[in-house]
Symmetry: C2
Subunit: 617 residues, 2 copies
């Protein structure tokens, strides 16, 4: 049973039988699956402005056309995923679709891209959420990294307990954010059209020389802003969580999400433009809009709070997705098997820990800055979008269901569009950090490959081909194990080990390394008195090693004519009452076992027996 501390921290174990899932309505489903996508309007516009401002204040006017192009891509991607939702009713993540239709390597490419994307979703959402807080309370910005890491730990801990994706917990922040965003856009529009004063054009002091407004810079703004599209695939992963008919409900929710996202993104970008807002190192763009539209009163703080909350929630979504994909990959033997173990709270504990650790590292390395992380982001998302939709194209070619030609064309357009965006993102943001993501993707794929290769080898070695089934030789007739008992002296633990050794074989030899001549003499004398029916071999040990002489002795034993079945090493092992006490003993037993298993064991099969001696009354 788990310890009391464990139970307080993580709750009581949950039996497997309680897995049956609460189904979600469309309204709940929207809340659960869209926090990642919707929350990205909190930084999407800002990233466009931050790229454009490099060419001076006048260039900021281009934000709206850039946002419109991104919305165009959004429409294509949404249509494409709408079809996936109907074609893969049991869940059509990019890995599954790409793996099934394009083959193993594209599947793994999609998986690597997605895992890295989830990692960045956590890092970007959390830093952005903390920036929503520090925009409202600038004095907190000195501890922003600490706040980010604390948030990650909190979310990881909540997920270890098992956050049920229950409607209510998710509905409040998601809909609160949607309401506040629409309130912001509405109030902002009223402000504009009622002719209230608006700040003058921003005074932009670019660091370094002003850059010319090239096509490349506009593309870079587009690439940065396209981070707003990340998370749009979430619904297609979670179709089975919807009420019946699942695909239809999921599809409609997807359309609703895309519409909300488009309106919010365009609305905020429009206001940023008309309010002459320039990016600022200490305050987010959305916070600046809020201060103009709402003033600095209750509504402003409510909006910042809703923004922070939905961003934290978006980070939480990745904590459900990353471990789930990790466990699928682990089941396919591309990742260590531990990632597919569910803990006693029915969650993939190891996946949660891994993600929390990696995301915290990212946040620390990039100084808790969303803007510094953005160049790494979106690449994973767009690469996996592209592969997923290319997979759908192939799916239609193979399946040829009714109207397949139209569907193929729609998916092909989606694939082409996202492929183009991928290339734009990679090229325009390469030197700013995209190269890191591009390095991590093949690294992850390499890990998948060597893991797979190891498991393949292991399963070949473990196969029963050529083995003889039971009944095997009956033991009682001939026990011929050669038993070796390493001892350090004569005490009760030695006797227990020797007695056990004698109980399983008549061929028992005790060996002792001669480290200290006086001690050896004392042991010999005691031996004669207590253990005289087992021979004691004293091994010279010029370098005072306990382990080496024994290993050499075993080599020798193995070279003698084999009149025994197996060499068995019986090791007397102290088990102290408290676990800290084990540091008070030479860990010879452990060293011996490792040496026998890992150094010499490859040549010979040796059985290792621990005879525990309990150091407690």
């Amino acid at each position: 049973m788990p310890s009391p501390l464990r139970r307080i921290l993580f709750g009581s174990p949950i039996p497997t039988a309680r897995e049956a899932q609460e189904r979600l309505s469309k309204v709940q489903g929207l809340a659960v699956f869209s926090s990642d996508a919707l929350s990205s309007v909190a930084y999407g516009t800002e990233e466009i402005l931050r790229a454009l401002v490099l060419a001076g204040a006048a260039a900021l006017a281009l934000a709206l056309p850039v946002a419109l192009s991104i919305t165009g891509v959004l429409v294509l991607v949404a249509i494409s995923y709408f079809q996936t939702v109907h074609a893969y009713p049991s869940g059509g993540g990019s890995y599954i679709v790409a793996h099934a239709n394009l083959g193993a390597t594209p599947g793994l490419l999609a998986a690597a891209a997605l895992l890295i994307d989830y990692m960045l979703t956590v890092a970007v959402s959390i830093t952005s959420g903390v920036e929503a807080i520090t925009s409202a309370a600038p004095q907190l910005s000195v501890i922003r990294i600490e706040m980010c890491v604390a948030a990650i730990i909190l979310i990881a801990w909540a997920n270890m307990r098992g956050v049920r994706e229950s409607g209510i917990i998710f509905s409040v922040p998601t809909y609160a954010f949607v309401v506040m965003a629409f309130a912001l856009i509405g109030t902002g529009m009223y402000h504009l059209f009622s002719g209230k004063p608006v700040p003058a054009g921003p005074i932009v002091t670019p660091e370094g020389a002003l850059q010319p407004l090239t096509m490349f810079l506009v593309l870079r703004a587009f690439a940065s802003g396209s981070a707003a599209l990340t998370g749009i695939e979430a619904i297609s992963n979670g179709i089975p969580a919807f009420r019946k008919p699942e695909s239809r409900n999921a599809g409609r929710t997807l359309i609703a999400m895309a519409l909300l996202l488009a309106v919010m993104f365009l609305g905020i970008t429009f206001l940023a433009n008309r309010f002459h807002i320039a990016p600022d190192a200490h305050e987010t763009v959305i916070s600046q809009i809020g201060r103009i539209a709402f003033g600095s009163g209750f509504l402003y703080y409510a909006m910042q709070a809703a923004t922070a909350l939905i961003l934290l929630l978006a980070g939480n979504t990745a904590f459900a997705d990353f471990p789930r994909l990790g466990s699928i990959l682990a089941n396919d033997q591309y990742l260590p098997r531990q990632l597919s173990n569910r803990g006693d709270r029915l969650v993939f504990t190891n996946g949660i820990l891994t993600l929390g650790l990696l995301a915290s590292l990212l946040v620390i390395i990039f100084g808790g800055s969303t803007h510094a992380l953005i160049p790494l982001y979106a690449i994973g998302a767009f690469v996996s979008f592209t592969l997923s939709q290319a997979g759908m194209v192939r799916h239609w070619i193979v399946e040829r269901s009714r109207g397949w030609q139209w569907k193929l064309v729609l998916n092909a357009i989606g694939a082409a569009a996202t492929a183009v965006v991928s290339v734009v993102v990679i090229v325009t943001k390469f030197v700013h950090g995209a190269w890191i993501a591009l390095l991590l993707i093949p690294l992850a794929m390499f890990l998948f490959q060597i893991t797979k290769r190891h498991y393949d080898t292991a399963s070949k070695l473990l196969s029963l081909e050529g083995e003889t089934p039971a009944p095997w030789n009956n033991p009682a007739t001939h026990i011929r194990h050669k038993v070796v008992v390493p001892v350090s002296g004569v005490h009760r633990g030695t006797l227990a080990a020797l007695r056990f050794a004698r109980s399983m074989s008549a061929d028992v030899t005790a060996v002792m390394a001669d480290i200290d001549p006086a001690g050896t003499e004392r042991a010999r004398a005691a031996w004669a008195k207590w253990c005289n029916d087992v021979p004691l071999v004293v091994l010279p040990s010029p370098f005072r090693s306990t382990v080496m002489p024994l290993i050499e002795y075993m080599e020798e034993v193995d070279q003698r004519p084999a009149d025994h079945m197996l060499t068995v090493v019986v090791i007397p092992e102290f088990v102290p009452a408290k676990s800290w006490q084990k540091y008070l003993h030479n860990q010879t037993a452990r060293l011996l076992k490792d040496a026998i298993l890992y150094k010499e064991g490859r040549k010979h099969d040796r059985i290792i027996i621990s005879v525990p001696f309990h150091l407690s009354r």
Copy 2:
């Protein structure tokens, strides 16, 4: 045999037989044992000045009387130790003398004080040595902590290889420092008496308000300066290293060391006074004196180099003393036994590592500043001086050899003087950091006590009293072990384990936790085909744990009427070809062993057998 890397880093193993020691002449002995004591003149004067300057520039004039009082204590301590050298020719460290004459607790108090003092010797000497370098090259001071830690790593590494306390290595820096110190004093005197100009009185800008020149402040200056006496006990620890007659040679070396120390300490303090030197955050006092006496030429840099070298060497001395005392305490069972193991280079590797780690921590915590560390220092030294000399008083009372009354009086005076200094040091530096040392001493003593208690319990439990000597029951007649084999499925590894289990008993049961019903069904089917002469028990596992159901099953087995001798658990264990690959497997075998040994094993004796299955071709 050690790996090639190990051999390059640490050298080839040294056989025990090569232990016979090179004996030292007086000249060499002085070099080997006095670096700690002599080097402390590099910071002793400075610490006096730093305390006095708090009362303004005028108070600095008191440095000379304070230094004279410290020299008085030095004479008393030297006389006292001269007697110890003759009374304990085989080495009379404070622990040994206090333990033998005053009993276990005072002995342990001395040992704790000494261990902490050695730790501080390393920290203070290294930071001070690095300050000698940064005084000459101020641009290096930004990396002073890194330099300190690098120096500690270097010295620890050299000691792991086994630095023989050979005369030459030590003679060069020690005598170079003595020569340079005398050159400094000589040149400085000439400078003064030839009437060359000397800087005007220093402009002291005390931080915060000027303190009044109280008796307390003078005592604090005395306490700070008494750090110059640390290391004076070194010769009494190392008497057997001297040529015959050991005690006489060691005694004379001790006198020579005390004289050198007194002259150098007083000379430097005198010059500091006459040159109107005030302590400076960026340059040591001795460096300031050097710049005036030598100018900024070759001689100045030679002196700084010699100072840095002897200070590093002083740190090195503690690397010999700490592990040696640690091993004595480990042999007396007050510290973990590992500290008494000599590595394959004949040195106490674990003690060296422990000291290196603790000293690095101290340096980092105290920002690489000698001045910040000084309040912790000297307490350990004076407490152990006091105990050692009090032990000598008792020694004379018991021994009553010729002239014992005089000797007793001398030691009593020494003990009283150092006791007074101890109290002064504790009282005047308590709030500045002495409390840390005062906290560490009882903490160390507590560790000694619980360690000792554990070993006492263990040796009582291990004693052979009441045991029956061999011959024990002959095994072949009745093998009645109950053997349990936990399995996760049917594969080659399972078969190997089952075969071995059958070879040692007819009573074998395989058990399997039912984690995933489909997997369990597959295993049952394979079982029927391959392993049908061993019963398979499937244990329900509602919380998906592999370990818990097995532990509960074992409980049950133990409660059945005991028709078997022992419960034996045979665990199939994967041994991958490369050690990183072990992370690709659930470490169920290890978890099982720990659970059986540490959780349940306290109630029942269970034998654990690992049947390795090698995952390599």
